[in-house]
């Protein structure tokens, strides 16, 4: 199940600057696991214990991912002065 995944700017460091990558998976979490194989570390940023983190949203055309879908990852952002960051 190949889909296009829109990578948000804060995560593009992990995808070598790519804004859009190919991924595979029938569910969002399968897709995250697949992305993590290609781009190690991305899984931890987006999910925790097999669940999508609560400040990240996934947008798909429909609930189950279908071949050719475009999936967008949308994290909460806040510019500013906070220190320490992994993203």
């Amino acid at each position: 199940m190949a889909v296009k995944v829109r990578i948000p700017v804060p995560l593009q460091r992990l995808t070598q600057g790519k804004e859009e990558v190919e991924g595979n998976g029938g569910t969002v979490i399968e897709l995250v696991r697949d992305l993590d194989k290609k781009f190690p570390g991305i899984g931890e940023r987006i999910s925790e214990g097999g669940k999508i983190r609560r400040f990240v949203n996934f947008y798909v055309n429909e609930e189950d991912i279908k071949d050719g879908d475009e999936v967008s990852i949308v994290p909460a952002i806040a510019g500013g002065k906070a220190v320490n960051s992994k993203w």
Binding site: N57, A76, I77, G80, K81, A82, S85, W87
Partner: protein
Amino acid sequence: MEFNEEQLQRYSRHIILPEVGGKGQKKIFESKVFIAGAGGLGCPVGYYLTAAGVGTIALMDNDAVELSNLQRQIAHSVKTLGINKADSAKKTFEALNPDVNVIPVKERLTNKNILELIKDYDVVVDGTDNFPTRYLINDACVMLKKPLVSGAILRFEGQVTTILPGDGPCYRCLFESPPPPGLVPSCQEAGVLGVLPGVIGALQATEVLKLILGKGKPLKGELLIYDALRTNFRKVKIPKNPDCPICGENPTIKELIDYTQEYCAI
């Protein structure tokens, strides 16, 4: 109140718009807007709302102007380096439009002071730079049923949404809880294109004026995402979460939470 000759001229391009007119301009003049943050977003929001003739603008910021701010924070200048940002912006806005009463609020928003600070305003604008304050503002606006125009920026990407408590989802319906400290980058580390807050701030100011005028369709129940590199605007739906901890059917947050300590401990 009646507009004098000078004001009629100043606001003439508004007044000739059928959607605004003299009546709408009067509404704008009688409105009160609270802007949290006089930085990248607060500067353009305040600048345009001042030009538009919003009668009362509170500008809240506790920081002083630094040289690294001037790449994007257009209400400040080399003349106001070291001065509190709310005071600095007040000078700029008053030079643009002396009709406007700009109230500098030189405090940090906390769970103790926020309700009192925003309660008399018609609309709240979030132009803050950190998650603790962002969630605090959302929760306080939900509690007071205060319209909130939220904007956020990072690197080349911006997000905008309008929250009308009781009539649509809130920020927690979208992102239920803040990321743990350190998991999301800040502008200081990640950088931000200087023009980006101008785009997002102008969108926020537009939303505020629409709310004041009661015209058009507010950006409610949707998140607008701007990608400056691709020149792409996308809207995604924000469903109202019936289990939302603050605006859901059985809210679990009954008092304002202070996340600051948790963040500062790291």
